[in-house]
Amino acid sequence: MFRRAVWRLQPVWNSRYHSTQTQNTQPLSSISPHELEKFTRISAEWWDPNGSFKYLHTMNRPRVQFIRQTLLDMHKSPKGSVLANLRGIDVGCGGGLATESLARLGISMVGIDAAKENIMMARMHQQQDPMLASKIEYRNETAESRLGDTQQKNEFDVVVSLEVIEHVRDPFLFVKSLVDLAKPGGMVVLSTMNKSAVSWIVDIVVPEYIMQSVALGTHDYSKFIPPEELMQMLQACGAQTLDIQGLILNPLSNQCFLVSQDCCGPLLPNIGVQANYILAARKKKD
């Protein structure tokens, strides 16, 4: 089952996610028509639910459902309208897949990404839904630069970072930034891949080598994180894990669903979270 691995502090700045940036937003107006056309094309590809990023779209649904349900449970209300009063941030938002979905639930979202191209793409797509204009603000920055720039911690009711932590150089520092962004009592949601034989097959061998639907080298097995390791990191940063659920993708029917951690009973613990999982934690009130 789980390796009882002990995570080590790696105080190294990741070039991609931890670079200090002075210029955090770049106006769209500075782009050449040629570039604009390029981004439009990439954006259209990214957002095509049957295109090459199709499984990203498929997996987005249960993730957002999980976030919605956990938030409703946390606020002890069955009514979706409580979400309209919340402020959220999507760290590493990419093209804005989850950011848009969360904004449609009513949450006022900030989407940040270290890659300028992603922010361009996300803003481009945001234009297609006029009801999102007032709900999302995209910025080209990192969690750390946001904390550094605004000198403001404890900003958000919900901090979301999906499929990002397995790409960062220093997961602990990353988790700490996420927790710092959340208000006391706020929620932090992370999704990533377990470090197991199953995840190696499901997340590397099959998509990168067999189906070749994902570019080679997209994922690095050594950076996969077992759930209890992530829980310990969150605990150390002052956030208590509320719930962990596994995500199972059926590529044939193109459906993805949530399974509980121990979906196969007590004899096979943690079987549900052998590969992809999503975790929600609550930042302690001071």
Partner: protein, 474 residues
């Protein structure tokens, strides 16, 4: 400084994106283009159920929904039922759909004392003397089907919308005069690609999703370029309210070579008549229909009925026809005592008629457009399944939209899930009802004896009968 940068980031370039948005705006002097998440076009039973169902969902509570109808819906909402009669336009609702309406808290908004549940249906064949008596055993709790006046249902639905659909704007007396479909309006990839509806008062509104519930001659279907094929049956439906000599709680249907005639129960000794007739007969019967003719149609043989029609064609006096029928019924004592015939009709009240057709659509969806109810399928009323299919459309679409809403998806782009679940089922149901019509429309004696053999056979096979009832109840 930071704030300034932020502002800058939202100002868009000249060649860019906002202009795409701007061209979507109506070229009107008042320049208003309201935006909705969902625009439901058509305030009939299907459209109103859709609106009431969406209005009752928590997942939809933050959405803006418009219900558009050219009629005056507020009058229907305030409808006061007449005390001494029932309206001729009625609907049959299956138990599963009734449970759906109950679950949504809609059913109790209708006048429940005007709804008749029934558990027995007697179907007979005039030519071949076949008979099948479907009686739902007591094991099933409740009735498998309900009869309700269309106006009673719609009025209840509108009350439910008024009561708990705070997110729904009812735009009454607004006719849709145009809909620019999503893809045709702008080639700019960053532009808003939502359909734009123009109303008769020149108002425009744009919606993420347009639901066409505007009936058999749907204009939304036309604007969305969804093709249809099908045929008119060259038949008309004659509907009327009947006053019976004794109350009934069963449905009676008799297949005549000219088309099926059905008597459906209502409370207090009333019933609803649904009679399919050829074009020439409908002209005769619409003005001359009487209790005698209805009694004859449920009892006399097709040859005798032809004789009555001939009398009507020669403009015979009412008295002559009454005498003719009375004489024939008396001489045919078997027919009068037949247990499969309904009680005698005392009076025929309010009546109306409409053409019957079969219409199939190429698809139930187009880009950001979904069709429900008769807009997506028109069929023969002989099985009373038209609205039930419509309500199943609603159940399915509501489920798809709720799932999409709770996962934050754009509800305008998930319609494939609806089409794939409903399209084939609808075609199958339409096909079955069409086949039944053709089989029973045949005058050939071979077909007649075969179908009667089949019906009588089925009548003596309780297992298959209970399965049929079960399938009917779902």
């Amino acid at each position: 400084m930071l704030q300034r940068r932020l502002l800058l980031s939202h100002r868009l370039p000249d060649l860019g994106l906002r202009r795409g948005l701007a061209t979507q705006q109506p070229p009107l002097s008042d320049g208003s283009c309201e935006r909705y998440d969902i625009a439901i076009v058509g305030g009939g039973p299907a459209g109103c159920t859709m609106a009431a169902a969406l209005g009752s969902l928590d997942a939809m509570s933050h959405m803006r929904i418009a219900l558009i109808d050219s009629g005056k819906l507020s009058d229907i909402r305030k409808w006061e039922p007449p005390i001494d009669t029932y309206l001729p336009r009625t609907l049959q609702i299956t138990a599963s759909n009734q449970r759906f309406l109950k679950r949504l808290g809609i059913w109790h908004w209708c006048f429940e004392d005007r709804i008749q549940g029934y558990s027995r249906a007697v179907v007979t064949d005039a030519l071949g003397k076949g008979k099948i008596d479907l009686d739902a055993p007591n094991a099933y709790s409740g009735d498998p089907a309900f009869m309700i006046e269309t106006k009673n249902l719609v009025s209840g639905l509108l009350k439910a919308i008024d009561h708990n659909g705070s997110c729904i704007d009812v735009l009454e007396r607004s006719k849709v005069v145009n809909m620019a479909s999503a893809s045709s309006t702008n080639a700019n990839p960053a532009a808003v690609k939502w359909p734009t509806i123009t109303l008769s008062d020149n108002r425009q509104l744009q919606a993420r999703l347009v639901i066409g519930a505007d009936g058999a001659n749907s204009c939304i279907r036309k604007y969305a370029n969804i093709g249809t094929y099908g045929a008119k049956y060259a038949q008309y439906g004659l509907v009327a309210t009947l006053c019976l000599q004794e109350p009934i709680s069963a449905a009676f249907q008799r297949f005549l070579p000219t088309g099926p005639i059905a008597m459906l129960p209502f409370p207090g000794g009333f019933a609803n008549l649904v009679w399919s007739l050829d074009a020439d007969l409908i002209q005769l019967l619409k003005s001359r229909i009487s209790s005698d003719i209805v009694n004859a149609a449920f009892r006399l043989s097709p040859i005798e009925m032809d004789r009555i029609y001939d009398l009507l064609r020669t403009d015979a006096s009412t008295e002559l026809i009454t005498n003719e029928i009375a004489w024939r019924l008396q001489s045919n004592a078997n027919a009068t005592n037949d247990s499969s015939a309904p009680p005698l009709v005392a009076a025929v009240m309010a009546k109306s008629s409409f053409p019957l057709q079969l219409r199939l659509v190429d698809s139930l969806t187009a880009d950001r457009v979904a069709l429900i109810g008769d807009a997506g399928h028109v069929m023969h009323p002989l099985a009373g399944q038209g609205l039930n299919m419509g309500l199943e459309d609603v159940q399915c679409l509501v489920q798809v939209l709720e799932g999409a809403a709770t996962s934050g998806e754009d509800i305008g782009v998930v319609l494939d899930r609806y089409n794939s679940q409903r399209y084939v089922r609808n075609l199958a149901m339409q096909g079955i009802v069409d086949k039944v019509w053709h089989v029973f429309g045949a005058r050939s004696s071979l077909v007649a004896s075969l179908r009667s053999l089949a019906m009588n056979g089925l009548d003596h096979l309780p297992v298959i009968k209970s399965r049929m009832i079960h399938a009917f109840m779902q």
